[in-house]
Assembly symmetry: C2
Homo-oligomer: 318 residues x 2
């Protein structure tokens, strides 16, 4: 099958599948559109955690242990900053800091986020298109029992502890989507990576015009579960499912996506949920979704593409 | 003798004598007022080269080889920035970067430079008072055959190569001096450190009220030559003396200072110039002014204080 794959990604899980897709697709056949709603300003830097995680992962220089930042990282600046009484709750490695310094400098000079990221990604050897969901600021705000918190305050500083009652995306109503999210004409398929539905995928869909464009395309839309055995592989997705009143399961995720997703990739551990997800009107593919190594990523990506092409042939809602 | 010593300093040479003075004076008896006219904004950071050189030197953590930055420095951020296509002509070490990050953050939050530096210096263990000449921005602009250049552009990027026709201090006419430069009542003496007369000492004097306050005090004012054997110990002072039409010698410096300085510390290598400097109306002390190690710094500082006290006893213009 020809045509482009448009992958929607947040951080670690999304980055892993995006890397798998980059293994099995030619670079021009893959666009990874990344959540920017957990971007923030910290220590004077414009920080884009999900974009950087995907960029470093596609460049083969991500830190496999932390899930963020660069491999072989050192912490000289943070240590010296701590000694000076500076804020160190958001850990920025020395190599990673160069990304923030250069991005911030160029954004202040008036360049767009997509232009900066295109260049940084190219310099790090990333071949597929890596695009922010928008060049305009969108910021996830988390309503909790302790009041509304900026995402990174909740996520990193408070370690996701305050229970979440709702989430909103400040700025989303006026943000302009990246053109790649509207250019759905020649798409082979749309792949929702195994990222957090509420704070990674939802912000992308909240940018005006994106959801409509993705729904209007004839290309199949499939989602890969971020929940396996009732747990998130990484991050607070399971906790948020519970706090926001959903089933803490792949079924809960599938219900959340059912309005616009045609196919759902379910982990083999959760195969028992397949009939319930099928009953939502989605096609289901059962696979080993755990991406422990590059071979896993390649295999899952190949299965995802196979599923996309099956849906294209059979009709999405058959 | 009691009372405070007010030392005026630029970068390396000034820092060395300031360290010597800190060895022989109790902390409360030494205030080091530092040039900020070569401060600049770079990569989004507020950088204060002279303040940092003096701070690191007084803290015992200066890099003895470069004359700037911190000892045991690493360059991970700069290397990563270079790989991303960023600007690396002004080298910022990893530990040093923490200073710039923290200073910039606090200045943006509305804190004054003097307040930030007081805290950073205290955290690094600096005991004497270290004050910027002003909390307001003053910027040295160098007129050259290639047009007017910002100081660091000329000094670092162009390695002082373009010939200097004049120097001005943008912002100096409206800058407010640090109170320590006006509080000359109980001073034991004023020591002009062996710093560049044109771009380190002149900007301090250019801040409104400073020169008048220093001239009005009864305390002796002495200057230590930054030129030995017709050469600058460090930096472009000799080149600037020539290009600005002065004698490239300690005598040229003494002539430049004669209107307001009472005593001149001349290097033993230049002892032959002593009568000519005396003829300018200054008292002269011949000393070994080369500060190769801490013992040299301590010895020179002690001789400087002895000279100050001699002048106080004998009357400045005897």
């Amino acid at each position: 099958m020809s045509g482009r794959i448009l992958a929607l990604a947040g951080g670690v899980g999304g980055a892993k599948l995006a890397l798998g897709l980059s293994f099995v697709l030619p670079p021009e056949a893959l666009t990874v559109a990344v959540n920017t709603a957990d971007d923030f300003e910290h220590l004077g830097f414009s920080i884009s955690p999900d974009l950087d995680t995907v960029m470093y992962t596609l460049a083969g220089i991500a830190n496999p242990e932390t899930g963020w930042g660069r491999q072989g990282e050192s912490w000289t600046v943070m240590d010296a900053l701590g000694a000076l009484g500076g804020e160190t709750w958001f850990r920025l490695g020395d190599k990673d800091l160069a990304t923030h310094i250069e991005r911030t400098r160029r954004l202040r000079a008036g360049e767009s986020l997509s232009s900066v990221m295109r260049d940084l990604a190219a310099r790090l050897g990333v071949k597929p298109a890596l695009v922010p969901m928008s060049d305009d600021p969108v910021r996830t705000m988390v309503a909790t029992g302790q009041g509304e918190l900026a995402f990174q305050d909740w996520f990193v500083r408070l370690q996701c502890k305050p229970a979440v009652t709702s989430v909103r995306f400040a700025g989303a109503d006026t943000a302009r989507p990246h053109p790649a999210l509207l250019d759905t004409g020649g798409l082979r398929g749309i792949v929702v990576c195994p990222s957090n539905p509420f704070v990674s995928v939802a912000p992308i869909l909240a940018v005006p015009g994106v959801r409509a464009a993705l729904v209007a395309t004839r290309a199949p839309r499939i989602a890969v579960t971020p929940i396996v055995g009732g747990q998130a592989i990484k991050g607070p997705a399971a906790k948020m499912l519970a706090e926001l009143g959903h089933d803490v399961s792949a079924l809960g995720v599938a219900r959340h996506y059912k309005e616009w997703v045609d196919g759902f990739v379910l982990d083999a551990q959760d195969a028992v949920l397949a009939p319930a997800i099928t009953a939502l009107g989605m096609r289901v593919k059962v696979a080993d979704t755990m991406m422990r190594n590059d071979a896993d990523k390649r295999r899952l990506a190949a299965e995802v593409l196979e599923f996309v092409d099956e849906l294209a042939v059979s009709g999405r809602h058959s």
